[in-house]
Amino acid sequence: MTTSPLLDATGVAKNYGAVAALRNASLSVLPGEVHALMGANGAGKSTLVKILTGAISANAGRILIRGEARDIRSPAAARRAGLLPVYQEPSLIPDLDVLSNLRLTGTPVEPFRAWVRELGIADLDLRDSARDIPLAVLRVLDLARALAVEPDVLLLDEMTAALPANLAEKVLEVVRRQGDAGRAVIFISHRFVEIAALCDRATVLRDGETVGVVDIVPGVEEEIVELMLGTRIEKAKVAARSVSEKAASAPARPRITVKNLRVGIKLSDVSFDLADGEVAGVVALEGQGQDELFAALAGSIRPSGGTIEVDGQAVKFSHPIDAIRSGIAYVPGDRSEALAMQRSVRENIALPFSAALRNWGPIHMRKERATVQSAIQRLQIDTRAQGEVQRLSGGNQQKVTIARWIAADARTILCFDPTRGIDVGTKQEIYKLLRELAGHGKSVLFYTSELEEVQRVCDRVIVIFGGRLVDIFRVEEADESALMRAAYGLPRGAKADIGILADPQSPSSGTTP
Amino acid sequence: SAAGKYTIGISNTVQGNGWREEMVCAMKAQALASGEVTKLNIAHRNTDAAGQLEDIRNLISAKVDAIVVNPADPAGIKAGLEEATKAGIVVVAVDQAVTEPSAYIISNNQEQYAYLGAKWLFGQMGGKGEVFYMRGAAGASADSDRDKGFKKALAEFPDVKVAQEVFTGWQQDQAKQQMLSFLATGTPINGIWTSGIDNVIVDALVESQAPLVPVVGADNAGFVGQLSSVKGLVGAAVTNPGSIGGAGVTLALQILDGKKPAQQTVLVDPQLWDNATDEGKAKLKAAADPSLSPEWPVSISIPDWTTYTKEQIVACKGPGE
């Protein structure tokens, strides 16, 4: 049967100064379809979504909605045309409470509440300011707000990237049902497993151009990757191979020893150690205390109990500078937290060099350029738009946050979900980099929201649940289902049907309330 | 009556200007010298008529016996002064008139101030030529009064033209920059009338080696010094005593003691000291006081009205300080 497309965009182009974010993109979505929009970092997916929903205007292109040419000039107009986006960044007004946010957009409250419950958030207070709500929950609220007005076309830009597995599953479920109900969903994600489980077709963008539309059938991943990466495919494959041959580094003396660490009510009694030359993974569902663990180790917050030892010496951090002096560097998951967006790549990488009072004097420009350049090359950062970091694509921005500490030669790197929203090629590069760092005797603590990454990168895996350390796996034992069970607080060996798109029962069967 | 028996409130709305500072010091010195004042209650800040109303009402709340006020505007504080009189408080306005009929006024005659200086200047210019007219702050009532006097003199000299009219805002830096800019235009002028920002003008003429045309200013210590020290400078200082504040206190005390003056309004007419006549030179010499802050008027006392000594006004201490 041939249904006419709900949404049909052709020849869309968008220039930012000299750089073309989109050259010739097209996208056609049928009713009842969940349509994946795929592409490497910087391919222009978000830009296309913004154009379709009137957040920015295109330089060229034609957009038909139900066969009619519509000129969508603002998000409000898109909303009237039945197009509702959930952008890559949260769109709730930070200083307004949720209820006011709903009023602002004219969203009916009761359906919203229903959707929020449906999406797995049980205890939402509509009077909370958006600022005080954790990122993952905000993303879900954004989605619920869009669902509540029953849009014809829902556009989800990396909806699941910042979500822990349990919330991501709920989202996938709900999205699938949208498709089944005859509405259309445009779904952007870098996670193939989600695409495979959810989508009917995929449009692939490369360098701002639509390079193919494929039906999602088993085994189509290879084809998509080829389309996405073009010539970059070879490199990615090499990277994948090199990661698999991981070195089981000999247990060295502990670099960092954490004993009975406690942070308020969020984290209690966590003890583990981290050796030189080791990548230790941290796995946890959203909000189980991993943020506090990283922040305490990075010197951003003061622990309320327990000790941290570095090279056998007990340390007390009252400012990140103390941690940095002990050789511990922190790469936050949210790039906007780590980068001075209007400054150049070079200045961002060189930032730690100037931090200390004694380095406030004249900068040795040549030496700095050499150091920065070698870090850029090591991470293969695309520096075409290096004058301002904000012009880089998300993935390249992420690399800059890591490059800073490579340049500063930090001995221990705390990476908090560094592959969030990053394309497969870049991911491989980051895995490889982390392994290389370990190979050079550095130690890495690596939190990830994607379980499959654990096996690719880590030597050991620490699982945290309800603020407590519940298990430590050697990498050989750490298959996804075992990790998932542990992450839900279930004891090792217990059988529970948990996996992507399975229906997990409430996670409260664990140890702590 | 050494202990004193009155509390006097003072309200002034320009702070940080030499003339006003001298006025306040004169009030303090006179209150001290009179021996009749227990306490001065001074509201002295930069504000407008509405702010002065607030200050006057606060002084009424403080139950002072008399209020001496330098009005931000003659009409704008009428309501406050009326309330004060109703509350049995003696009200004396100094420096400028007020429209409230119950208030007593002891004022410098601003219109006469400008007229006197301008007339002398135009005479020096031989009754013809171009004058650079440097006014005070646009929109201030003292400035518009002076403008009336200036225009009156101008009408008497039909051949004198205003080459350029600027507002200095009574700011030294602005006036100097305006003078220098004007000199750079090369427009010939025959005289300069200033509304009291005078010594920087002479400075600007000297610095840029421009011809020294006659200059009229006020009796500020700096300018009075220049009139006798700068070679080739012909000029005149018109008195505009800040000590009028002291006179206001005297008047208030007289009224409190039951000695009402014959009229509601007492005008203190300005004098002109020029360095073109021997008589004027003698007056300038007598008045010159290099120890005073250059912004302070040298006429630190008004005969018959103030009784303090120079040391007392310079010490700037009121009763109880």
Binding site: L96 | A49, G51
Partner: protein, 323 residues
């Protein structure tokens, strides 16, 4: 929740401070009574409107440096129109001047939106323009005000059912202030427009993406600011009976009171109540300084210290709260 509490906490703290100051005043001057409170209310009036004008734009994420100049212009316009005119003519003058403030405020907003020049520069430029216009309207202080306008803010209104002792503490000026602010602010706060103003102040991008017409909202915020400033200008004319083309000290005072009142510079947070209470606090401090006959040269130091100390204290509390 916690955020909400914090803001209300700040306003309650200010209220407590105000009450303490009243007690202090009564101790300094045991005769301080309802009449003196009436004076306070009248002194507060122009400041309160200035601060309301500033509050609206600060909440919308901007700043308005032209508040005082706008007050001067509206004041001289009103005063010069009423000079020599009949009492009834003022019935036309008041809405005219309010409309003028609204339109000129909207012009501020329009210029910001159209030229994309930062608000601080646009309103700085407008400061000069409005000042110049005020000088063209009246070269020196002058003009007049209708008697009924002047009477509107002096004395008290007998409210039926209330004992005179309480009536005496409800000066007309205070009622005028409350009515004028509430008529605009209360419906605004509850409306979608009000939400939009908070939204663009909090996050312009998020507001745009939520479908808020950002440009229009910004223009309206500035227009409301102009309207409040025009009320302030009228208040000046009502209390002094004249118009003065030189702006009074309302610009810096308004910014200070906005911050003291718990409205964050940067936008999105706070309300109107806090800044208004802050204005009362600042005026009452001035009264106390006069009552105490403090050396006038020291009063500037004290006022500066109070401002810095209160804001530092607030910052200190928030820091403690965060830990």
């Amino acid at each position: 929740m916690n955020h909400f509490l914090r803001r209300q906490g700040w306003v309650s703290g200010l209220f407590a401070l105000l009450i303490v100051l009243f007690i202090v005043t009564k101790l300094i001057q045991p005769g301080y009574g309802s009449g003196d409170f009436g004076s306070l209310a009248r002194a507060v009036l122009p400041y309160a409107f200035a601060v309301a004008a500033q509050t609206v734009v600060v909440i919308a994420g901007g700043i308005d440096l032209s508040v005082a100049a706008m007050m001067a212009l509206t004041s001289v316009t009103a005063a010069s129109m009423m000079a020599g005119a009949s009492e009834e003519y003022a019935l036309f003058v008041v809405p005219f001047v309010l409309a003028m403030g609204f339109v000129l405020g909207a012009l501020n907003g329009l210029l910001i939106v159209v030229t994309r020049v930062p608000d601080i520069v646009v309103t700085l430029a407008m400061l000069f323009v409005l000042q110049g216009a005020a000088l063209l309207v009246l070269g020196a202080p002058g003009g007049a005000a209708a008697e009924w306008l002047k009477a509107m803010i002096s004395g008290t209104v007998p409210i039926p059912g209330l004992p005179d002792a309480i009536d005496a503490w409800l000066p007309k000026a205070l009622l005028v202030l409350i009515v004028c602010l509430c008529v605009i602010w209360v419906p605004l706060r509850r409306s979608r427009l009000g939400l939009s103003i908070y939204a663009i102040g909090s996050s312009e991008l998020a507001a745009f993406r939520s479908g808020v017409p950002v440009a229009r909202t910004r223009i309206i915020a500035y227009a409301l600011s102009g309207l409040f400033a025009a009320m302030g200008g009228l208040a000046l004319t009502m209390s002094t009976g004249i118009g003065a083309p030189i702006p009074g000290p309302y610009l810096l005072a308004s910014v200070a009171a906005v911050v003291l009142g718990g409205v964050a510079l940067g936008g999105g947070k706070g309300g109107l109540l806090g800044p208004i209470v802050a204005v009362f606090v600042l005026r009452l401090v001035r009264t106390d300084l006069t009552l105490l006959a403090i050396d006038p040269n020291v009063t500037a130091i004290i006022e500066g210290l109070i401002m810095v100390a209160v804001v530092m204290f607030g910052a200190f509390i928030t820091m403690r709260g965060r830990q």
